[in-house]
């Protein structure tokens, strides 16, 4: 499930950690109210300093993906589990757009713009 983070590949350790956790959620392997391993253990797993883990977890808190309980632990807090039919639809749209020559960078920008303008 979790293994050590790659260093000096351009993408910061804490971002990689954030992504690992988000992917676990997208894959349904982490669900609402599940507790994460303690920060010190995560630090060992990812082979980074404890503060690098905390950096990642604090950012995830900012995105309201997890919550912290001082002295207790970190918990997944996404309010509902992902509806996989939505993922299927997204997949189709993306596939189509990619075939039509829309790059990933353009796609991301487009998504941000759409996101802003959607109620």
């Amino acid at each position: 499930m979790l293994n050590s983070v790659e260093k000096h590949i351009g993408v910061p350790a804490y971002i990689q950690i954030m992504n690992v956790i988000k992917k676990e959620i997208l894959l349904g392997r982490l669900k609402s109210d599940d507790q994460l391993p303690p920060v010190r253990e995560l630090a060992k797993i990812f082979k980074v300093n404890m503060n690098t883990v905390i950096r990642a977890l604090e950012k995830l808190q900012g995105e309201e993906v997890i919550r912290a309980e001082h002295g207790v632990g970190y918990f997944i807090t996404v309010t509902q589990n992902i509806d996989f039919s939505i993922i299927g639809e997204l997949k189709k749209s993306i596939e189509k757009a990619k075939k039509d020559g829309l790059s990933l960078g353009m796609m991301k920008l487009l998504i941000e713009e759409v996101w802003k303008n959607v109620k």
Copy 2:
């Protein structure tokens, strides 16, 4: 169309420049083989050093959004113009996902993953 870039707002000037150009393309105001203004002029417009413009343009080249011709200029190189029906579909999917509580961060990661796994 183009105006000066915002400084000290967290997002680097060269990224803002990249996004401005991408948006012009998404909006259909810049099309394949259109020539961009010269780097020195862009530098004046955005009120940054010439090299900051170049930084943006080189990254856009990396994404194959534009191409450089030494001594001549920069040109849009996206192979085809965007099919707006695709944008409409994407919009619907995103709207749905947003309503279901999927955050922008999660959405972006999901899109990257889907992108990787799509032929």
